[in-house]
């Protein structure tokens, strides 16, 4: 495959043709913040945290879905981009009920980590305090919609890796919600294979193993292969 040369933050790098900006940056050791991206599943460009500036393109482009091209000049950390990232995080924190102190994912949460790394130290917008429920009907897993950021990672692993098609999105805008099957309690889902990939993919404390308490919900991101090929390799046995 032909290689492309481009610059990221003034640094000349080469990348494989067909690679995304995100992949090229990662290879070159440039960190671009992401939230809806998950290695192993296709990208949707929804969280807008990985937006980058490309010289000659008037719009900001998501690094996760934009392919590299020859001579591309990319900026990943301009002041403007950093400001937008902090604002995006502020909006996410204000949107639902993200209370770290009582969250199962406290200390292991990608949203929390991003807020630290991007310097989002407080939320200036009014909290919405929506009343979302918790679905605890599943034998092994729980889903707290209050902590969901609608990144749809769980939906994508469910459809495209597990192939079960249990998880989906219903509703529109701020009323959008992750559902199981045709919006039924998770425990009653006929299609769920109890594989737990969705739990493993969740960036926040929205999806968790039952029985985990504050700060106990750890996910091992380095073992992505685990998520992708868990079943064939019998690495992952979901049990209580």
């Amino acid at each position: 495959m032909a290689a492309k040369t481009l610059t990221i933050n003034g640094k000349q790098i080469s990348a494989e043709e067909g690679a995304t900006i995100l992949q090229a940056a990662e290879e070159a050791g440039v960190k671009i913040p992401t939230l809806c991206h998950l290695d192993g599943v296709y990208d949707v460009g929804a969280c807008r945290l990985c937006l980058v500036e490309v010289t000659g393109v008037p719009k900001l482009l998501p690094a996760c879905t934009t392919k590299v091209s020859e001579g591309m000049e990319i900026k990943t950390d301009s002041e403007q981009l950093q400001k937008y990232r902090r604002l995006t995080l502020e909006l996410l924190f204000a949107e639902r009920n993200h209370v770290c102190a009582v969250c199962v994912a406290n200390g292991h949460c990608e949203l929390q980590t991003l807020a630290y790394s991007q310097g989002m130290d407080h939320v200036r917008y009014d909290y919405c305090f929506p009343k979302w429920g918790v679905d605890n009907t599943h034998r092994l897993f729980g889903m707290d919609h209050n902590r969901c950021i609608l990144c749809t990672r769980c939906v994508r692993v469910c459809w495209h890796i597990e192939g079960a098609g249990t998880k989906n999105v219903a509703g529109r805008g701020s009323k959008a919600k992750i559902i199981t099957d045709l919006n039924m309690p998770w425990g009653e889902s006929g299609s769920c294979t109890n594989c737990g990939k969705c739990v493993q993919s969740c960036p926040t404390g929205a999806l968790f193993y039952k029985g985990s308490t504050v700060a106990e919900m750890e996910r091992d991101r380095s073992r992505l292969e685990f998520i992708v090929t868990a079943r064939e390799k019998k690495l992952w046995v979901a049990s209580d």
């Binding site: 460009g45 909006l91 949107e95 009014d126 989906n168 999105v169 805008g173 701020s174």
Partner: protein, 551 residues
């Protein structure tokens, strides 16, 4: 009947013209007049004609929109050239009586008023003239002749070139050069290609595309067929919103009739060209007017947009190259091929060719549809044609482009209507909704209304649009209810900038426009509502002075 030959088309036209009666009463059968019982009016007219024994002289024809919607139901009489307004089932028979003695109890309007005379009809040429439910009526108006000519006289490449030469730009809002789009799809490699007509018109106050579909559905079908030939597609979809049942019904009739005559289907006009059209009905989501969301919806998926590139021209429906144009764009196509690209390029301004249909609504005397050449000043549209604000009001602003557009204040009324000029004022041409506001209109309320619309219609996929519109609406609410400070206004402006630049699709990217444009021209209306900041001096020096003056 084997309709694959042009001779059949000519025969149909001749038969249709020979069957014409001396007097034609054209009754508007578009949704606006239908809601005021235009159907009953038409039945009464038919009955009165029968009772007067005038069946051989008078034809009562159901036609499409006759433009002056506020005065409906409308009945026009030819060749008398009278236009009866607000016709009811009761007074309809007196229109027939008037054919004898000229006296009628039905009100009339002057068909030579500037509302009508300043219009230039290309897209709406058949609207209000032909019967949209009879293909013969369209053929008599030279319908499908352009398709025949293109199939037999032009190569697909020549067809694209002709459209490039015409200078037609997309009428859906953004104004992308249509010829360039066709050329890109034509050049994209792929055995299967699609043509989609975007009829998911959803801007509040916009009803141009609905009227075109209800009044002249065959023009859209013919335009799509020509496009399909030019780009190498054999399957078309029309994506219509479910809220347009009459348009859907007329399209279904039109597709059926065109198939019967061999104008859609296989081997059209004895050429190797095949083209079929199917209707897809939207389920009420505004975002499905965005092309990538629309395609997802056609594919049967959740209607959410995806990042571009790849553009539909390269990878669209089911990954195949796909041409998406708006209803009005397709309706422009047959006249361009019928009359030549040069003819079309001679109308309008240097960069915006042809005409534009606008739906005039709001605080204006004459509401309805107008079609004017590009470059017509806004003043001509709202004052001469629209008759200005009703009840002696003063026009304050004009909202164009729906929730993606902006408010143009009255001092810019002399702006010519074209893509660039409206863009310079922070608004957009949009699909053609034009809402006139008078001096009683509160601009903060307008911004809040449109923000609420965008908030409700956000699909929820990307964070800036989903959560940002909620916060912007909340801030606008606080400002409108006098619960906000200068700091809140600054936060609102910051969010507007962020949502505009970071949202995934056009809905989010343009959602702040109504706020930005009202802030640009009517900032004082916002500032008047602000409260003193209890937490110290605001960063904005101007407001600090104001706050000091208040104490």
């Amino acid at each position: 009947m084997d309709g694959n030959m042009i001779s059949n088309l000519i025969q149909i036209k001749e038969q249709e013209l020979a069957a014409r009666k001396k007097i034609v009463l054209r009754c508007c059968m578009a949704a606006g007049c239908m809601s005021l019982d235009a159907k009953g009016v038409r039945e009464q007219l038919e009955k009165a004609v029968a009772e007067a024994g005038l069946q051989n002289e008078v034809e009562v024809r159901g036609v499409g929109c006759m433009r002056l919607c506020c005065e409906g139901p409308l009945v026009a009489a030819d060749p008398q050239n009278t236009l009866n307004i607000k016709v009811t089932t009761k007074n309809a028979p007196s229109i027939i009586a008037a054919l004898r003695d000229g006296k009628t109890e039905v009100s009339r309007t002057d068909p030579n008023s500037s509302f009508f005379t300043k219009q230039l009809s290309i897209v709406l040429a058949n609207s209000g003239v032909i019967n949209p439910e009879r293909i013969e009526s369209y053929i008599a108006a030279d319908g499908y002749h352009a398709l025949h000519e293109v199939l037999h006289e032009m190569t697909p490449r020549e067809a694209v070139e002709a459209l490039v030469k015409s200078g037609l730009r997309g009428r859906g809002g953004a104004g992308f050069p249509t010829g360039l789009k066709w050329g890109t799809v034509a050049k994209s490699p792929g055995a299967k290609k699609y043509v989609i007509c975007n009829a998911d018109e959803g801007d509040p106050g916009a009803f141009m595309d609905r009227s075109v579909l209800e009044s002249d559905p065959h023009a859209v079908l013919e335009g799509m067929a020509i496009a399909a030939y030019a780009v190498g597609a054999d399957q078309g979809f029309i994506y219509v919103r479910a809220e347009y049942p009459l348009a859907i019904a007329r399209l279904q009739i039109a597709i059926k009739q065109a198939k019967q005559l061999g104008l859609l289907g296989s081997g059209i006009f004895e050429s190797p060209f095949n083209f079929n059209v199917d209707i897809r009905i939207g389920a009420g989501a505004f975002v499905c007017g965005e092309e990538t969301a629309l395609m997802a919806s056609v594919e049967g998926k959740r209607g959410t947009p995806r990042p571009r590139p790849p553009f539909p021209a390269e990878s669209g429906l089911w990954g195949s190259p796909t041409l998406i144009n708006n209803v009005e764009t397709f309706a422009n196509v047959p006249p361009i091929y019928r009359n030549g690209a040069d003819w079309f390029a001679g109308i309008g301004t240097e960069k915006s060719k042809g005409t534009k249909v606008f739906a005039l609504a709001g605080k204006i005397r004459n509401t309805g549809l107008i079609e004017v050449p590009m470059g017509t000043p806004l003043r001509v549209i709202v004052e001469d044609m629209g008759g200005g604000a009703p009840d002696g009001g003063k026009i304050k602003a004009i909202q164009t482009g729906g929730p993606s557009g902006g408010c143009i204040p009255a001092q810019y009324l002399d702006t010519p209507v074209d893509y660039e000029s409206l863009g310079k004022l922070g608004s957009i041409m949009g699909s053609g909704g034009m809402i006139v506001m008078d001096d009683t209109t509160n601009m903060v309320e307008i911004a809040r209304f449109f923000m609420e619309f965008c908030m409700d219609e956000s699909c929820g996929k990307c964070v800036p649009c989903r959560a940002g519109t909620v916060q912007m609406h909340h801030l606008l609410n606080n400002i409108a209810n006098r619960r906000a400070t200068a700091r809140d206004l600054a936060k609102l402006e910051e969010l507007c900038d962020m949502v505009k630049h970071t949202s995934l699709c056009g809905l989010g990217q343009t959602a702040p426009n109504p706020v930005l444009s009202t802030l640009r021209f009517f900032r004082n209306e916002y500032e008047e509502l602000l409260q003193p900041d209890p937490f110290g001096p605001p960063s904005n020096g101007e407001v600090k002075k104001q706050t000091a003056a208040m104490h």
